[in-house]
């Protein structure tokens, strides 16, 4: 087992890793930028090393500085957390060259899933369902019609150089194809000077459901069931839960098997997540794989009773996993509390927290690095806390979450607590009938 782990991250995840290392008897080294001097992870670690100026580029993304910190503290492993260098294959490689264990997958595994086209090809080869589509750009209207017949309507035309919805057209039946094809190409040409378009199946009312997996160094892979992360604003997750209200035993078995196939295809080592889009007919399609621990890992921890950071460290130190899969017991929901103003388009609100009272009681877990008197620096993300409610049923978990949010006091900065309070009372959310488009129609009261 490792003697000393350096955590190449900050905020709540750094604290999270330090907590587990403490329990395992592993010494911890925190690294911090000058802006994070008063941060909790710096105080809780056994040692701390200042690694640079506030900008991420100068500190948390600065590989030489982080490696130097590992060297002077004699760390034998580095935990990259999430974000920053967590999926940087070069960083993982450098750790290997310095004989410091990168707690995560190998550089090859990171690369295999980092490139979206390669990842998709790997999945197709392994028999994991992907969003059906053509290979390459459409050469003609006839080709478009033929391909659409193969894939099955509805389809979506997408600009290869595109973004922001430009050059995108959903087509529901063949009679619409000619007009859609021509206008999509014209729009793409005008917007990106490249009128190339390709075709994919249009996933109707998609839900974002991901499967947590774990693989050891000996080829064994298992899954710990799903998390539903459909409540998103501008592709940022705000609420996650397990089990998914849309899940059935049969779907879980199929998705779990697909996730294991995906991970096994690259011999995956460490914890990771396979993200799927699920349509209203319960067809699921591979979207991408995250080769790291995720923000919302706590949700799975609460319904499977595993410490995923501990499992990750055990795997990295060479321990084998049992290979058993795990299903959720009870229900857990997580709300991400950000320093943003939900009444003003979620504008970031950094500043000094003057008053802080965290909720407690049965079924509540709070993972946070905030404290009264803490100044949220403006250089990093705005998340201040994750609050997780656990109960026997979904309805009880939602009620517990609402109760806890109503006693959560954070003053000095604006937070998204009012948003979550309103969401927990929302009829449609409570019914479990939502998809990734849900928040588009949500207005703060």
């Amino acid at each position: 087992m490792f003697k000393k782990v350096l955590i190449a991250n900050r905020g709540e995840i750094a604290l999270r890793v330090i907590r587990t290392c403490r329990e395992m008897g592993i010494k911890t080294v925190a690294v911090y930028s000058t802006a994070d001097k008063e941060s909790l992870h710096v105080r809780f670690a056994d040692e701390a090393v200042c690694i640079g100026k506030p900008a991420s580029f100068d500190s948390y993304l600065n590989i030489p500085h982080i490696m130097a910190a590992a060297e002077i503290t004699n760390a034998d492993a580095i935990h990259p957390g999430y974000g920053f260098l967590a999926e940087n294959a070069r960083f993982a490689e450098i750790c290997g060259e310095h004989e410091i264990k990168f707690i995560g997958p190998t550089p090859a595994m990171i690369n295999a899933m980092g490139d979206k086209i390669t990842a998709k090809e790997t999945m197709i080869k392994s028999g994991v369902p992907v969003v059906p589509g053509g290979e390459g750009l459409l050469e003609s209207l006839d080709e478009a019609k033929g391909l659409a017949r193969e894939i099955g309507y509805p389809i979506i035309l997408k600009a290869t150089a595109g973004g922001g919805g430009k050059g995108m057209r959903v087509v529901w039946e063949e009679s619409e194809m000619e007009r859609a094809y021509n206008t999509a190409k014209a729009e793409a040409g005008a917007a990106f000077k490249n009128d190339g378009v390709y075709m994919e199946k249009f996933v109707e009312e998609p839900r974002h459901i991901e499967i947590q997996i774990a693989g050891d160094q000996y080829g064994r892979v298992c899954h710990l069931s799903e998390r539903d992360c459909s409540i998103q604003r501008r592709h940022q997750k705000l609420v996650e839960e397990s089990p998914s209200p849309f899940m059935t035993a049969e779907l879980r078995e199929r998705m779990g098997a697909a996730a294991i196939k995906a991970a096994s295809a690259i011999n995956y080592e460490s914890v990771g997540t396979i993200e799927f889009l699920v349509d209203k007919h319960r067809n699921f399609y591979f979207m991408e794989m995250n080769t790291r621990i995720q923000v919302e890992h706590c949700v799975t921890e609460e319904v499977t009773n595993f410490d995923l950071i501990k499992e990750q460290i055990k795997i990295a130190s060479g321990q084998a996993i049992s290979g058993m899969n795990y299903e959720p017991q009870g229900h857990a929901i997580e709300c991400r509390i950000n320093a943003e103003d939900p009444y003003n388009d979620f504008r970031p609100s950094p500043g000094r927290i003057t008053v802080l009272h965290q909720p407690g009681g049965h079924g509540i877990r709070v993972d946070s690095h905030a404290y009264a008197g803490y100044t949220i620096p403006p250089y990093y993300d705005s998340m201040i806390a994750k609050i997780i409610a656990v109960a026997r049923t979904r309805e009880e978990a939602i009620n517990t979450m609402h109760r806890a949010l109503s006693e959560y006091v954070i003053e000095g900065v604006k937070t998204t607590i009012p948003f979550h309070l309103q969401l927990m009372k929302d009829e449609r959310f409570r019914s479990g009938d939502f998809n990734t488009k849900f928040l588009e129609g949500f207005k703060m009261a």
Binding site: T34, V49, C50, I51, G52, K53, P64, H65, M67, A68, A69, E71, I72, T73, H98
Partner: protein, 164 residues
């Protein structure tokens, strides 16, 4: 002018270098003089590129600031430790601090030595690479803040320099 304003004026002048102030308004004349002359001379360090460090874990060494004739006046500057014009050389990187180019050679600098921009004051070693750290200020070393062969972090104070 009311009494409060006069009080404030007196406080302001007391803190300043002004010797005497005379104010004349309709039906009112006021003269305020400093008790003794000349006013205490404070030599301030020229603004250097290095920010002045207020926090050194080691006790701040008193710089020999020339103080004029002792007056009962409070010093004209806001309260600061006497050596506040000392400049700190801080570490620009993380690694192991060495005072000399190799164990058998003498230190790059010692207390009392003069330094100027470009003069190598120490080596910081990281990942088998030896980096010579140069002074960015001109002055005299008054204190070495780190022990030879100990680890240093970014921005850690290394030397205290009295600027020339």
């Amino acid at each position: 002018m009311d009494f409060k304003q006069i009080q404030e004026l007196i406080k302001m002048i007391n803190k300043s270098n002004i010797g005497e102030v005379s104010i004349e308004e309709k039906g009112f004349k006021l003269t305020i003089k400093q008790k003794e002359e000349p006013v205490q001379q404070i030599i301030t360090a020229p603004m250097s590129a290095q920010p002045v460090a207020a926090l050194a874990p080691a006790p701040v060494a008193a710089a020999p600031a020339p103080v004029a004739a002792a007056t009962p006046e409070k010093p004209a500057r806001p309260a600061e430790p006497a050596a506040s014009n000392a400049v700190t050389i801080k570490s620009p990187m993380i690694g192991t601090f060495y005072r000399s180019p190799s164990p058998d050679k003498p230190s790059f600098v010692n207390v009392g030595d003069e330094v100027e921009p470009g003069k190598v004051v120490c080596i910081i070693e990281a990942m088998k690479l030896f980096n010579e750290i140069e002074s960015e200020v001109k002055g005299r070393i008054i204190k070495v803040l780190v022990e030879d062969a100990s680890p240093v972090e970014y921005d850690q104070p290394l030397f205290q320099v009295e600027p020339a």
